[in-house]
């Protein structure tokens, strides 16, 4: 029993939020201490920040009462107009008004459209996936195994799905009036955006899916627990092909122009033909790839967990199926969150709780902004 006192059993939830640049020119991300931050990349100013706290009694039952601690945030914020949506690991969905937050007004400012769901002290289960915004609703998955549809304006519950799996940590994908969601127990479910009802189109694999799905035409790409990248044809509901990796395809793959780019925890980025499932090229970063690659024009940007960011020219011919990066930029921190690319700059919220801007042309770190505010 004393063995239990030894360290190394479990790691605390810290979060790995991605970044997103809105058309107002402001960059939104979440820090490792539970803050949603808005940064102006031109001035490198922190425009505002809002700390999401969780009422915690888990630390204990021996403590005198409940304590408020900053929550972990894994998803990338979704921005729509004046509102920033985010799901917290403490089980709530937040809509933050950029104007109310920049004035640091008490939350929620309902007249600015702010809300949180559930409105009471209840929670819906830890939220790990990113919120997805459609024209009139926001969709989030929860560790309680359900998918929620909330009204964008007031955070009213439109519907909640049946339990789709023991826990849903993946981000759903919306295409038209259908939502696609992958589960750890090996299902791809499709639901109606209108009602949340399950649609007849579904897929069941023998092994669970570890990554979020991505849609490319009528094909779904998703990583499985048996170290494979699966391509599933939607109409036929059957496996088109599967591509073996050395470890899990944890990061959500991206696809463009007949090629799917998939980062693997074996450290390799694979470029695979969508049509045949054959490998076109690969590159070994020698460190697990946790965050999804991003594509920009003919450039593919891939970050390894150890902090190396590789820039590939996708039009270059690989040598013996091995692609050489045109540039490598080193960020001195672990990278797990999603990257965001805009006008030749890659934005990363790294695990040292700093925001990085990488200049692709110059091949260096343009600036770095610590998000730990004292």
């Amino acid at each position: 029993m004393l063995a239990s006192c030894a360290p190394g059993g479990a790691q605390p939830a810290q979060g790995w939020s991605g970044t997103v640049l809105n058309n107002d020119g402001i960059l939104y991300a979440a820090s490792m201490d539970g803050k949603v931050v808005a940064v102006n990349p031109s001035t490198r100013n922190l425009e505002w920040s809002y700390t999401i706290v969780a009422s915690s009694s888990s630390s204990g039952f021996m403590s005198c009462g409940q304590t408020s601690v900053p929550t972990a945030i894994y998803g990338t914020p979704a921005v729509d107009g004046n509102l920033v949506y985010i799901g917290s690991y403490s089980g709530k969905v937040y809509a933050l008004s950029t104007s109310a937050r920049s004035q640091n007004l008490p939350f929620p400012q309902t007249r600015n459209g702010e809300w949180h769901y559930p409105r009471t002290n209840e929670v819906i289960g830890d939220i790990v996936g990113s919120p997805v915004v459609s024209e009139d609703a926001i969709y989030v998955t929860s560790s309680n195994g359900k998918l929620y549809s909330l009204g964008k304006d007031f955070g009213d519950l439109n519907w909640e799905s049946d339990v789709l799996g023991e826990k849903l940590w993946t981000t759903p994908v919306i295409e038209g009036d259908t939502i696609y969601v992958s589960t750890f127990d090996g299902h791809i479910y499709t639901l109606s955006t209108e009602t949340g009802n399950l649609l007849p189109v579904s897929f069941e694999a023998e092994v669970g899916f570890v990554s979020s799905p991505v849609l490319y035409g009528d094909i779904i790409f998703v990583g499985s627990f048996d170290n494979k990248l699966c391509a599933i044809k939607i109409g036929d509901n059957k496996l088109l092909w599967e591509f073996p990796g050395g470890r899990w395809f944890w990061a959500t793959p991206v696809a463009k122009e007949g090629v799917v780019y998939a980062g693997c925890l074996d450290g390799k980025i694979y470029a695979i033909s969508v049509e045949t499932g054959k490998e076109l090229w690969e590159f070994d970063t020698e460190s697990p790839i946790v965050s999804s690659p991003v594509l920009m024009d003919r450039i593919a940007v891939v970050a390894s967990e150890s902090g190396d960011v590789y820039i590939f020219d996708t039009t270059t011919e690989p040598k013996d199926k091995v692609m050489t990066p045109v540039k490598t930029i080193f960020v001195d921190a672990l990278i797990r969150g999603s990257l965001y690319c805009h006008e030749g700059i890659v934005y990363i919220r790294a695990q040292d709780n700093c925001l990085y801007a990488l200049d692709i042309d110059k091949g260096n770190v343009s600036w770095k902004l610590p998000l730990t505010i004292k």
Binding site: M1, L2, A3, S4, A6, G8, G9, A10, Q11, P12, A13, Q14, W16, S58, G60, F61, M62, A72, Y74, V128, G165, E166, K167, W169, F184, D185, E206, V207, G208, V210, F225, D226, N227, G246, R247, W248, W250, L265, P288, V290, R336
Partner: protein, 258 residues
């Protein structure tokens, strides 16, 4: 060092645990119990050595208690005499400690494996992937179901499990804790006998239930082994002869004095 630890001890234990879960109809609770039994069987020779040493120590208790009584006011002399008695019997009082120390890394690995496999946070799941073998039986085990009987193995604070862990631990300790004539030592033993089960009962409320299940299984297996090795319930009996004799003797002595 950490890599070596993972390579030699942690990863094999972790992968066997997950493979067992796959074999046992994706029942992670059963896998924890099965692995606890397997590990207990593997280290049974060490456990037997430890128990035999403890048993031999207990057999010497009347003699030791006599010495404690005789040299109650001279601790130095008492220590010398006890060492002499141990030496004459060809025993090392630390003999029961070494087998326990050797078992320690195995228990640490088992504990870490359970915590890792439960993957209660996304960080844990990501970290887990770095420790897995590419065995199909391992891949097929995912996602590990955290439900077993009434328990959520990744959740905290199950009162029934806390009581089971506390009670089984008390029984296991009581079976091996020899009574002492020394009042101070006896009260210390009594306190330990209560404190440890209480402490681990409280731990159950703070740690994931999967770990508590391992504690409970480990305790029950420990009780079974002790029952068959020491030939019964040991000092758990309400009036064990070893306790009754000195107690009667002490009563007679006090009557004589009065």
């Amino acid at each position: 060092m950490a890599e070596l630890w993972s390579l030699i001890i942690l990863n094999p234990v972790l992968n066997v645990l997950i493979a067992l879960s796959s074999i046992l109809s994706n029942n992670f609770g059963l896998a924890i119990i099965a692995l606890t039994i397997i590990v207990r069987l593997i280290i049974l020779p060490l456990t037997l050595k430890q128990l035999n040493s403890t048993k031999a120590m207990q057999a010497m208790q009347p003699k030791i208690q006599e010495l404690q009584k005789k040299y109650a006011k001279n601790q130095q002399k008492l220590q010398q005499e006890m060492m002499r008695v141990y030496k004459e019997a060809g025993m090392n009082p630390l003999g029961c400690v070494w087998p326990m120390l050797v078992q320690f890394p195995v228990w640490i690995a088992l504990y870490q494996s359970i915590m890792k496999a439960l993957a209660t946070t996304p960080e844990n799941l990501l970290d887990l992937s770095y420790h897995l073998y590419s065995w199909q039986v391992v891949s097929q085990a995912f996602p590990l179901s955290s439900h077993f009987l009434w328990l959520d193995l990744g959740g905290h604070g199950d009162l029934i499990l806390a009581i089971i862990v506390g009670a089984t631990m008390w029984v296991q300790q009581k079976m091996t804790t020899a009574p002492s004539l020394d009042q101070r030592q006896q009260s210390m033993s009594n306190m330990m006998l209560l404190m440890m089960p209480l402490m681990f009962g409280l731990f159950v409320l703070m740690f994931p239930s999967g770990l508590a299940l391992f504690w409970a299984a480990s305790n029950v297996i420990g009780i079974v082994i002790q029952y068959f090795i020491t030939g019964g319930w040991g000092y758990l009996r309400f009036r064990p002869s070893a306790q009754a004799v000195p107690a009667t003797a002490s009563k007679r002595a006090s009557q004589k004095r009065s």
